[in-house]
Amino acid sequence: MKFADFVCPEAIRADLAAKDKEGAIREIVQALLDAGKIAPGEKDSIVKAILKREELGSTGIGRGVAVPHTKHPSVEHLLGAVAVSRQGVDFASLDGERVNLFFLLISPPDRPGDHLRALENISRQLRDDTFCRFLKQAKTAEEIKQLLNEADNNQFGP
């Protein structure tokens, strides 16, 4: 699976304003709403579901990266949004580091395989330090979009 298969280009944010976990999740879900990918009436329910999953254990996987996610019956296929926070957000991460890079995923309840394949793509690409650093330094959504495209075309990593 590639980034282009699940990341909505219109739901990429280069400068999150939120300073805490809930705010960051709200802002990224709002980006998917603004992109017309989720229904306005579903926003709160999606945010609540993601926060509930976070209560079970943080999706801050270390290296300044978090992958907040949930299953939700309102989506028909895997939806992803990408966001960068300059100041970083306290996310109770595995390594205690603040999170600068978010990949938020919403998947249909009956497709766990797609979710895992998206995680595989994200984690495989982020193992490349250059890609990870460039993403965190990106200043515009356009720059992030280009980096994701380059990653899809194997321009990073081994």
């Binding site: 254990g57 595995l94 895992l116």
Partner: protein, 91 residues
């Protein structure tokens, strides 16, 4: 210090597979022990302390995963890891 080596094959029985939080839980458990752990699936390997490597294995429901531990508490770390591949019990 005695070096032990332990290996075990586990099957993922969590319908959701080994997702992000499950991978974080694996790393947290491995870090509590002194042995080095390597997970393998389909000839791909991941270090037990690296979330990104673990997620790269794509361990879905039904996947077979080989766990290899080397160190003074090799059996213990595998005992502690094994339940993490099963469906979580409702809390």
């Amino acid at each position: 210090m005695s070096e032990q080596k332990a290996t075990r094959t586990v099957v993922v029985t969590d319908p959701a597979g080994v997702h992000a939080r499950a991978a974080v839980d694996i790393v947290k458990v491995v870090r509590k022990f002194r042995s080095k752990v390597v997970l393998s699936k389909d000839r791909q390997q991941a270090e037990g302390t690296d979330v990104l490597q673990i997620l790269s294995l794509v361990m879905q429901y039904g996947s077979q995963v080989l766990l290899e531990a080397t160190g003074p508490d090799a059996e213990d770390v595998l005992d502690a890891m094994e339940p993490l591949f099963a469906e979580p019990k409702p809390s």
